[in-house]
Amino acid sequence: MHSVTLYHWEPNANSGKPMLALMEKGVAFHSHYVDMLSFDQHKPDYLAVNPQGTIPTMVHGERVLTESTAIMEYVDDTFGGPKLMPDDARERWRIRWWMKFMDQWLGPSFSMIGWKVFVGPAVRDRDPAELQAAIDRIPLPERRVAWRKAISGEFGAEELQESQRRVALGIRLLEQELARRPWLASDQYSLADINGFNLAYALPLAQPALSNDELTPNIMRWLRAIYARPATRACWALGRTSLVKRVTILEQPHIGAGQVA
């Protein structure tokens, strides 16, 4: 068996997807923490592994894999352990639909808000020349724009409002979907749940006016059920930042409207 190395940041968003998928499958891997807030992902050591400078990257033997959702499918296809995609073709379609919706529509809106309140403030106070040099090293032009905006707090009111609209609509759609089925898009625990948890684990803290046990009981049931899994506990225990420690909100048995400030 070839060894697996995962280059990842926090168990959050894209990094957390292959981390949790590997842990659910019981695949041992060498964890290589890439400190995004120190711009490790744009330094030569990391660019030698993944020239695009995106996180995460998985190395399996000689194979180098990027794009977190595609990595998860590879992990499920390649390794033993519990299947994280159902046998039914239509359920697989539904799972992929939801993962794309989260990766490309809902996730970027969550992350614009997250970068504004967490990532930007976390790095903003450093030496401006050092920050500029860090931005200049970013290989993908789209990511350069994203970092510049996050650091300078340049997100416009209109784009933040559009992100908030999408977050509110996305929460409604998730709640509807989870009222229909025990898990997201399927009757069994799958990659869609792993993907969704990485997006929504702190939802009642991040969006207290939109998500709590009264407004979104199915989302809350679903988040707690995923958090109760041993793999999720082990995965989130690897988190180092206050961002990820927010997951403990799910230990509260009931979160009512207006309970989280």
Binding site: R63, L65, T66, E67, T69, A70, I71, E73, Y74, D77, T78, A89, R90, R92, W93, R94, R96, W97, K100, F101, Q104, W105, P108, S109, S111, M112, E142, R143, V145, A146, W147, K149, E159, E162, S163, R165, R166, L173, Q176, E177
Partner: protein
């Protein structure tokens, strides 16, 4: 299993799904709809969330045993799973990963650029009264932008750059292969579906790229693609465009 495919002209996402359906020999009822007129939004299942909120833009809808399904790449994966025809994805997990990653990059970067340039050159005309029926507000906004003819020069230039990059990636990839993933696959279908119509619109991106020219011919001649193209109702399906995915909002 009962399958109905609502499709438009064989270009873009409709071409991918029609050709996948034929390649996989899945029996289906075909229903032609005017995707470029917004007819999808008048269908009885148009408000179902997984149709209404598809971020592909105006793509085909496959109804399998009553469930309306959208998104051309994943519909092709579904057909690949259920049909008896030759596989449309490689068997090896790493090659499968490469296929999915290739398609993801196409969907994210190439498709929005191609739809922008295609709609700019051949603007779709939304039927009367359809705008208010479009449930997704961001899709509605893209329709309003196209109706007002509002693509900026910067957007068009950025889109041409993305077509250049896609053509370069494809040319490079074909250095030692006939098909993008070794055997004919969903990656060939989806790449052809977005790029073939770009040849007349961004000719310089395809100039002096002999491998991509030969590959375009090969894909066009594939029996499943040829059959899909035979469902065209216009003289030039490559000039038929409707609203595509949105251009990345940030990062």
């Amino acid at each position: 299993m009962s399958v109905t495919l609502y499709h438009g002209e064989p270009n873009g996402p409709s071409l991918t799904v029609l050709a996948a359906l034929f390649a996989k020999e899945v029996p289906a009822e075909l229903r032609y709809i005017d995707l470029a007129g917004g007819e999808r939004h008048t269908l009885p299942f148009a408000q179902e969330p997984l149709v209404a909120m598809s971020i592909e833009g105006e793509g085909p809808v496959l109804v399998a045993d009553g469930e309306p399904m959208s998104d051309s790449v994943f519909l092709a994966c579904y057909l690949d799973d259920v049909g008896p025809g030759a596989a449309l994805r490689p068997a090896d997990p790493y090659d499968r990963w490469e296929t999915m990653r290739w398609c993801r990059q196409l969907i994210e970067r190439t498709a929005p650029a191609a739809a922008c340039l295609g709609c700019d050159a051949h603007p779709p005309q939304l039927d009367q009264g359809v705008l208010e029926r479009i449930a997704s507000l961001d899709l509605r906004a893209r329709w309003q932008q196209i109706t007002a003819g509002q693509f900026s020069e910067a957007q068009l230039a950025d889109s041409r750059t993305k077509i250049h990059q896609a053509a370069e990636r494809t040319e490079e990839r074909l250095a030692n292969r006939e098909w993008l993933m070794g055997a004919f696959s969903i990656a060939d279908l989806e790449s052809y579906a977005w790029l073939a119509g770009m040849v007349p619109l961004v000719p310089v991106a395809f100039a002096a790229k002999p491998r991509i020219a030969a590959w375009l011919e090969r894909v066009r001649a594939h029996p499943a693609v040829a059959r899909a193209l035979s469902y065209a109702r216009t003289a030039e399906p490559l000039a038929s465009w409707s609203i595509g995915p949105e251009i990345n909002r940030w990062g």
